[in-house]
């Protein structure tokens, strides 16, 4: 008996897993009881160290008054969400507060309701929603050229939540047997008036848009339109399909009518051109037997600037910067800053991009650990950005991510003229 106890203790000491193997598992079903309401949230701390490129045009535009070689930013995010459901109706609200502090911009805070809408669901086939929400149309990972209604997502962090627009939507769903398994139609109305979606486009318009979704021959297909209103008319389609269990292809195609683009000519004079443009995306997602996920996407941005356009813009900033240094006049730099918000400062301002993302799930048997690297290539000027990252989600509700950014390119290229050469970021997020 004593010998058995000693043997068990030795086993417990050296092989705790063996002792655990006999553990009985319990499932307290009270935790599955449904409540009509739900509250939750997310809090995040995100310090970022930027190593700046003093010769870059966007550095000169941003830091001309306050030169520096590095910038430390302290970012915080606080999200609260709640819902209430009764019968066929429900409401959902999600608020977002962003906090930022740096020695350059000092502290600032912005709070917004990201989502806030009511839902009526009289049957599984019908749903009506009214309020502030996002639609997230498109199949691309980094970009969505057919996402005509939402604010653009960050291609360097595509899973970040974004603020919605106030709208009314409806879903009608039908299922079938045969090659067409699902049909759904989602019409959307987006009003734009003073204080209602007033950053969407031209004021005093009611915008109509819609999406038809089909699951046809195991392929997701969407046909999307947005009628002429606050923005010019546009239409598009997307698709996604698994070729094998581990290989998916997807694509998007968008046609935008009468797109008006402000630009600087080579004399530094502000011009505008109106043209019908086509944007598109083709991508694959592949998973190997050893859990390496590859996402490769090519994006053509019909609304983007050419390499020559960008060169004119960077030259304009340099002239402004030189002028400021010799005379203290900031007029040209102010114009350049306005142009940045008007298109030159977009996250993907040029025409052709390639993104390759490799992520390895749980290497060396380290559970919940995912190292990844993302390569972003600008095909127009051959500049690039490499972003390695380490993600750990092993502690319940806690997400830890360490990320670096290596931003490379010659003069007059997109990544060569970014304000920073390197970026180091740590993100700790907790869900509750």
């Amino acid at each position: 008996m004593k010998r058995n106890v000693i043997l068990f203790l030795i086993l417990l000491l050296f092989f705790p897993a063996a002792a655990l193997a006999e553990e009985s598992y319990t499932f307290d079903t009270s935790e599955t009881e449904k409540k009509p309401y739900h509250f939750g949230g997310y809090v995040e701390l995100r310090p970022v160290l930027n190593v700046l490129d003093k010769d870059a045009a966007l550095y000169q535009l941003q830091y001309y008054r306050d030169p520096r070689s590095t910038l430390m930013e302290w970012n915080g995010r606080f999200q609260l969400e709640g819902s209430y459901e009764k019968g066929i109706g429900s409401v959902f609200v999600k608020t977002n507060t962003d906090l930022r502090y740096s020695s350059f911009a000092n502290g600032n805070e912005r709070t917004a309701i990201f989502d806030g809408y009511g839902t009526l669901k009289p049957s599984p086939s019908w749903k009506v929603e009214v309020g502030k929400k996002t639609l997230k149309w498109g199949k691309g990972y980094a970009w969505n050229p057919v996402n005509f209604i939402d604010r653009p997502k960050d291609p360097y962090d595509p899973d970040l939540p974004i603020e919605g627009y106030i709208m009314a939507t409806m879903d009608y769903i039908r299922s079938f047997d045969g090659p067409l398994k699902t049909f759904s139609f989602t019409p959307v109305i987006v009003p734009v008036y003073d204080h209602i979606n007033d950053d969407f486009g031209v004021n005093n318009r009611i915008n109509a848009a819609g999406k038809v979704y089909l699951l046809l021959y195991d392929m997701d297909l969407d046909f999307i339109f947005a009628a002429d209103g606050s923005r010019t008319a546009r239409m598009g389609m997307d698709f996604s399909r698994n070729i094998t269990t581990s290989f998916e292809i997807h694509g998007e195609l968008a046609y935008i009518k009468g797109y008006q683009q402000p630009f600087l000519d080579n004399a530094g004079v502000l011009q505008s051109r109106t043209q019908n443009v086509v944007s598109g995306l083709m991508g694959i997602r592949h998973l190997t037997t050893f859990d390496l996920t590859t996402i490769l996407e090519y994006y053509h941005n019909g609304m983007g600037y050419s390499a020559d356009d960008m060169k004119n813009y960077y030259n304009y900033i340099r002239q402004g910067y030189n002028g400021y240094q010799s005379t203290g006049n900031t007029q040209m730099l102010n114009v350049a800053q306005n142009l940045a918000t008007g298109g030159y400062g977009r996250l993907s301002p040029m025409e052709d991009y390639l993104q390759l993302r490799l992520s390895q799930k749980e290497p060396f048997d380290i559970l919940y650990f995912t190292p990844a690297v993302t390569f972003m290539f600008n095909l127009d000027d051959q500049s690039y950005n490499i972003t390695p990252e380490l993600l750990y989600t092993g502690i319940t509700n806690l997400e830890l991510r360490l990320r670096a950014g290596f931003i490379r390119g010659s003069r007059d290229t997109e990544f060569g003229e970014k304000a920073n050469d390197y970026r180091f970021e740590f993100r700790a997020g907790y869900y509750f």
Binding site: A17, G40, S175, N242, T245, D365, L367, N397
Partner: protein
């Protein structure tokens, strides 16, 4: 002559096994595990070699042979995520991402030893053909082969309790006979409505040495759903089924 006698005797001894309809037996196992259409709750526990655990709670709904949906209820970081399977098609909906993305059966939305095919499992008979049945006294050993290349495991060996017609152990293998994981079916429980089945499935894998994942079942009940519930457009609304 001697060869003929040996052949006939071999045939005679083998007859009881060949007489058994393997496909019918597998279908019986499927029905004993779950009704054809049902909803249920599950807890998934990933256990690391040092004993550290991570738990997930899911609500699941299934209809017919090829429609399954699951909604994560806990922990808070996963709440609201849902997965959908329509035959060979699988999608994951993450509330922050806001749109369903296609996933594959070999990936795992929860990490650990269970993959998406284990979480969104269809009937075995819907995905596998019975190629052989061995009778070893108390148990049957079923050798299953995937019906097509889209199925997560190319081969399965299933040990079935003869009396209860329920699985005891399942080995999942590659085409090259490499063991991917073993599922152990434990703790038979009466869920009501005539459903008596194992309430716990444990799994381990030579690919994850020392790790273990456990699936605990609760509140399995027969239920019918409209087909429209199992669509991409409905994925953000699965909570309303509970």
């Amino acid at each position: 002559m001697l060869k003929t006698i040996v052949f006939l005797m071999t045939l005679l001894t083998a007859f009881p096994v060949y007489a058994l309809d393997g496909t019918a037996l597998l279908k019986q196992v499927d029905r004993n595990l779950n009704p054809e259409s049902y909803d249920m709750y599950r807890k998934l526990i990933n256990v690391e070699p040092d004993g550290k655990k991570k738990e997930f709670t899911l609500f699941s709904a299934k209809k017919g042979v090829d429609k399954v949906a699951a909604l994560f209820l806990a922990p808070a970081s996963e709440k609201g995520r849902s997965t959908l399977r329509l035959g060979d098609n699988m999608w994951l909906f993450i509330p922050n991402v806001g749109k369903p993305i296609r996933i594959t059966s070999l990936q795992s939305v929860v990490g650990g030893v269970f993959n998406n095919a284990d979480i969104l499992n269809l009937d075995y008979a819907a995905e596998y053909d019975v190629v052989r049945v061995d009778d070893s006294g108390k148990e049957y050993l079923l050798f299953l082969k995937a019906k097509n290349k889209n199925v997560a495991y190319d081969q399965i060996k299933m040990w079935v309790d003869k009396g209860k017609k329920l699985p005891i152990k399942v080995e999942c293998l590659t085409e090259a006979n490499m063991l991917i994981k073993t599922l152990y079916f434990k703790d038979h429980k009466d869920f009501g409505g005539g459903i008596v089945r194992p309430a716990v499935i444990e799994t381990d894998s030579p690919l994850y040495k020392g790790y273990k994942s456990v699936m605990i079942f609760a509140k399995i009940k027969k239920r019918s759903f409209k087909d429209e519930v199992f669509t991409l457009t409905y994925m953000p609304n699965l909570e309303s089924l509970r």
